[in-house]
Symmetry: C2
Subunit: 137 residues, 2 copies
């Protein structure tokens, strides 16, 4: 009886499946030097799957910690691959948004320091700089 219940619980565990859409989108983001928006991914995949599927794949990849979700200065949501997150998944680096070519890049080697004097509990950071990237300046 007890074992029966455990088996039932085990069966309830969600198993992750690898699909064409998921694989291609993940590779696209991983191989891109800049962060990509949903629209950009949709154009790049070119009818690979439905608009909604892209949203759901991006959601899944973000939850699984395989990609970063970055909100731009303009409020545009972009997704970037985890390049230096092999040891520990880390969202807390600075992103740079170019005002000319609209590219968003992760500045994973730039660290920011600041002191919080008040009783705030920090769990997430989104530091975005905006200006001109080396290509456009």
């Amino acid at each position: 009886m007890q074992q029966c219940c455990i088996m039932k619980l085990k069966k309830k565990m969600k198993t992750v499946r690898n699909t064409t859409a998921k694989t291609e989108i993940q590779e696209l983001i991983a191989n891109s030097p800049v962060a990509l928006s949903h629209t950009e991914i949709q154009s790049a995949t070119n009818g690979l799957c439905d608009r909604v599927t892209i949203y759901r794949v991006l959601e899944r990849l973000t939850v699984e910690g395989l990609i970063h979700k970055v909100v731009n200065v303009d409020g545009v949501v972009k997704y970037a691959g985890c390049h230096s997150c092999s040891e520990k998944h880390n969202h807390n680096h600075i992103h740079f948004s170019c005002q000319k070519c609209k590219s968003v890049t992760c500045l994973e080697d730039v660290e920011s320091t600041f002191k919080m004097p008040k009783k705030y509990i920090i769990s997430e950071m989104n530091f975005t700089l905006s200006g001109l990237c080396p290509q456009c300046s």
Copy 2:
């Protein structure tokens, strides 16, 4: 003749008008301890003016440098009053977004330092921390 031209040029200069909507929205934001979204402003003003007018007033106030436009970690656009910008209008301070009560506050006394090793030209910053505010922690 010369003077005529100058007068014509002067006439072309856009004059700013103070309207009920602009005044009330500006006061609402100035008196709020947290940054407000368009929806929150719409609810607070309660039919004072059209939805579109609020967008246009917010745009105008931002351009005139009377309020700050802040993009949240979630991508939600909020507007905050300029409290310590009397001498010099300054957008480049840290904002804190509470995950519990959803409030966004300006941490104008917290300064951040970082070093940029690459050839980036920085013109704007959007530093947003997310977590629990003193009231919710």
